[in-house]
Amino acid sequence: MAKYLLLKHYRGAPAPVNDVPMDRWTPEEISAHVRYMQDFAARLERTGEFVDSQALAPEGTFVRYDGEGRPPVTDGPFAETKDLIAGWMVIDVDSRERAVELAGELSAAPGSGGKPIHEWLEVRPFLTAHPPTTE
């Protein structure tokens, strides 16, 4: 009963095995990929392990406070940013082993040539709000 984030990177993760950009896939390959992701989420809902799944636009803006009474300062997007998050899935599972197993399956989503992408997903545990009462 612990939540994990399966983090998908546009950039910043090691290169996948099947490293062909998505715009070079056939439309059918893209559809197969999307279907795999949807089926994966639906399956996790049936096992009672699904919490959330979201995708992010690649371009964002940096914003910061600029002092009392002044509008926030904005900057970017920075095309050269090393790490870029594409999206995530949040799961609620019984063990870290299970989280790793599921990340492995998600990484097998088909890509170019219908073969698994083998992309690297980052698995990050959530902090709970409180420690267990009895420890």
Binding site: G48, L127, T133
Partner: protein, 385 residues
Amino acid sequence: MTPQVDEALLRSLVPGVLAILGRRGADFAAAEDAVQEALLEALRVRPADRPRDPKGWLVTVAWRKFLDATRADAARHRREERIEREPGPGPAPAVDDTLQLYFLCAHPSLTPSSAVALTLRAVGGLTTGQIARAYLVPEATMAQRISRAKRTVAGVRLDRPGDVATVLRVLYLVFNEGYSGDVDLAAEAIRLTRRLAAAVDHPEVAGLLALMLLHHARRAARTAPDGSLVPLAEQDRGRWDTELIAEGVDILQAALARGRPGEFQAQAAIAALHADAPTVEETDWAQIVQWYDELVRLTGNPVAELNRAVAVGEADGPRAGLAALAALDDSLPRHAAVAAYLHERDGDTATAARLYAEAAGKAPSLAERDHLTRRAARLNARRSR
């Protein structure tokens, strides 16, 4: 005037209603769904307008829901006819029914999270929505987790008593989840453990109940108004609930007198020794170390060994604590936090500050991370003055 029927009473009736449906021939999964629906219907009614005989009402509504669901399923046509001819309500539910329900919901074929969810719904009478909010998952996910759990135990025959240890493990997990959503899971765990203790005579059930009461007694003192953690040594002992402590100690003493030790009794004994000390200085650390020795012997749990090192540090000085810690694997969760504390007690502020910062980075909860960061900051500020 109709007496006000509150939610807690309705929920406490759930296992008994489930047992009656079971005796009328309903299978567990369908009966449990029907009872949940009846409960939801009862909860929708304003408390003042709830029926005078809530149990009779729940049985009637749940049975109707069960029959509706069965009728709707054409494939079950033959079975429906058989069930419709079943006799009326059986005898009042026996204690054994409740006990069997605990065993079923904590069945070893279930994963811990499934067992917890099923126990909270079928024994605790919580709604799927409440359980989902308490565990911060979507309601659809929790509903699926519960149906899946029921499918897993569908073929389980309860002709033999189950292993009470599996039930205790589930209740312990619920207790440790504390408070989130609109349900006080710690209080719920205590309620379910009390009910279990009334149904089965077992020193470890008593031990777990005592452990929960002794920890629950300190709850108000465990967090500051801003939500930050207050360590045991710094807690305002005037805010401990002395009635709960007295009850916990009584239950524990009766359990220990049976001479069948177990991990929950040992943990409760440690909690009782803390609760018994009017000030932190008066804590009987030597006895606490002995109980940790017992706990390590019983469980081999490395977390117990880590806590034992802290107790040794209090009983025999921080150097002795550090020596005990040196024998343990430093990849254990909270190892750095314990090392930091012992170094601080030993007067090595620089090492302690570094280790607190390291421990903060590894903390599994937000409250601990903030607490450890504050301790590191306090030591660093003192050093730079």
